[in-house]
């Protein structure tokens, strides 16, 4: 089922994500997907997240689909040129994948193969253009396709970026190129998110707010230092540091954030980062 159909039904959309393993043992990933299945509309499958080499997102998405979990197949431009990207998109549709999230991808230096040749033949915008052309029966060189996909395409944006304006310029390009939903980088500040929504709402696409589950004060500080576009405010770090039950505190913070942003957007995307088992409790606490 396409994510756009979920939005069309008027419901508040919930997505989450799983990360393919380093290796071929898919039991943990599929277990997490099964656990999320009854509570979410779709599950993102990350593509070599943080440039770390793992099992591919295409096959992983297909494995989810086979188990009745609706995948959002993440595709980045770091590792494949336009020939491979277009081919993978055709393969995905042939295997039943309907939702695709188009990203530029982290630089190779962040992962375990900093020596690799970075590709970036396309970027998030031209990848969307290319996927949209496939939807219209043509490849990037205007050759006609025999059998045509009909993807629901998504893109990402960083609402806490400073300055925000270049992100908005690019978001507009992504929407013009064919993105029909937006998932955001993790947010922790509802007021800042509201300011972003206020500027982005004219683009007319559903926005899904990214919610990262905080696991500890140390993790929050690490993200503030190292992860672009993520800022955990001090009071939340203090709350995590003082908490006797970190899981309970994390659930409480996430649920509160969801309720603060619920009326501003059309859905939430929970990034559990290893705490997939706690996602149902977060959704319970948020009343979703």
């Amino acid at each position: 089922m396409k994510l756009t159909d979920s939005f069309a039904s008027g419901k508040f959309v919930v997505t989450s994500e799983v990360g393919p393993p380093k290796g071929t043992d898919t039991s943990e990933m599929l277990g997490n997907a099964e656990l999320l299945k009854p509570r979410v509309d779709a599950v993102n499958v990350t593509d070599q997240q943080s440039s770390v080499m793992r099992l591919g997102s295409l096959v992983s998405s297909v494995l989810l689909k086979q188990r009745g979990v609706e995948p959002i197949y993440q595709v980045t431009c770091r590792d494949r040129n336009r020939i491979a990207l277009q081919s993978d998109l055709l393969s995905a549709w042939a295997a039943g994948i309907e939702n695709v999230l188009c990203l530029t991808g982290d630089y190779v230096s962040l992962g375990d193969f900093p020596q690799a040749k970075p590709v970036f033949d396309l970027d998030s915008v031209s990848l969307l253009v290319s996927a949209m052309k496939l939807n219209n029966g043509l490849d990037l060189a205007d050759n006609k396709l025999q059998g045509v996909p009909d993807f629901c395409l998504g893109a990402v944006v960083t609402p806490a970026a400073d300055p925000l304006e270049p992100q908005l310029v690019k978001m507009e390009k992504k929407v013009r190129a064919g993105a029909s939903f937006i998932q955001t980088q993790g947010i922790f500040d509802a007021e800042r998110f509201a300011a972003f929504v206020n500027q982005a709402k004219d683009f007319g696409v559903p926005i899904i707010a990214g919610i990262i589950l905080l696991k500890s004060a140390g993790m929050a500080r690490f993200m503030n230092e190292n992860v672009a576009g993520v800022h955990v405010p001090d009071p939340l770090i203090q709350a995590m540091a003082k908490a006797e039950d970190r899981v309970q505190k994390s659930i409480e913070i996430a649920a509160r954030l969801i309720n603060e942003v619920k009326d501003l957007c059309q859905g939430v995307h929970i990034m559990p980062i290893g705490w997939e088992r706690h996602v149902p409790a977060v959704l319970d606490a948020a009343g979703l």
């Binding site: 991808g105 630089y107 962040l110 970036f120 970027d123 915008v125 310029v169 390009k173």
Partner: protein, 232 residues
């Protein structure tokens, strides 16, 4: 030596939409040798523009536009003409356009594409770099090259990886190229040019040296020398 070729008048005119007065800048170095930036080339460009109804309020050919000190000194006597102009149209390689853009406080448009010589580089002492990509984008990026300023060589805007205006790769050494482009465009009030630009798709075939250059002295000076020896 960097080889430049004039863009089509159609593309040049698309840069000048909404402008009526332009100042022309040529380069007496490689661009003169390429037939794009010498005195005669600039005169011809002036006539072509005027035929298209674009007013040229002044022109200047400077030796080595890649040298910012020379650009600054060369433009000084033209301050009043530059004040009248909406922009500067620079007919030279990508480095000359970028060097000019850093020393003036007004829009700078590239009149040329820089053609690949397959790795040979001109000598320069400034920060500007040109990949000889054959599809100069400097018009929409405020005179800062996205291929050399952005680690990922992104042409449609920034990724989400920059933090505090620094690149995710070697943040201590690299500013985010798109942050620089954003700041430049913002200061020139030209962010709309980027916003409205169509999605760009790079043609990497243009980054191979074209066949037509390979048999000429632009490719290797000794091609001509060999021929001369053979005939004498």
């Amino acid at each position: 030596m960097l080889v430049s070729e004039r863009k089509s008048m159609e593309e040049i005119k698309s840069f000048l939409v909404g402008e009526s007065k332009v100042f022309l800048l040529g380069c007496d170095g490689c661009a003169a040798a390429s037939g794009t930036g010498g005195e005669q080339d600039i005169l011809e460009l002036k006539q072509q523009l005027e035929k298209e109804g674009i007013q040229v309020v002044g022109s200047k050919v400077i030796e080595f536009l890649c040298q910012k000190a020379l650009v600054r000194r060369g433009l000084k006597p033209y301050a009043s003409a530059l004040r009248q102009a909406d922009s500067i149209l620079v007919s030279t390689c990508g480095i000359g356009v970028q060097a000019t853009a850093t020393v003036v406080d007004m829009p700078v448009h590239p009149a040329c594409n820089t053609i690949s010589l397959g790795g040979i580089r001109g000598e320069w002492q400034g920060e500007e770099r040109c990949l000889e990509c054959g599809q100069c984008y400097l018009d929409i990026t405020g005179g800062i090259c996205p291929l050399t300023a952005c680690t990922k060589q992104l042409v449609n805007g920034p990724c989400g990886g920059a933090k505090d205006g620094r690149c995710e790769f070697e943040p201590d050494a690299r500013p985010c190229g798109w942050q620089l482009i954003y700041e430049r465009l913002k200061s020139l009030d030209r962010l709309d040019v980027l916003r409205q630009a169509p999605s760009l798709l790079k043609d990497y075939a243009q980054m191979q040296p074209p066949k037509r250059i390979r048999s000429t002295s632009k490719w290797a000076v000794d091609i001509e020398t060999k021929e001369e020896i053979a005939t004498t």
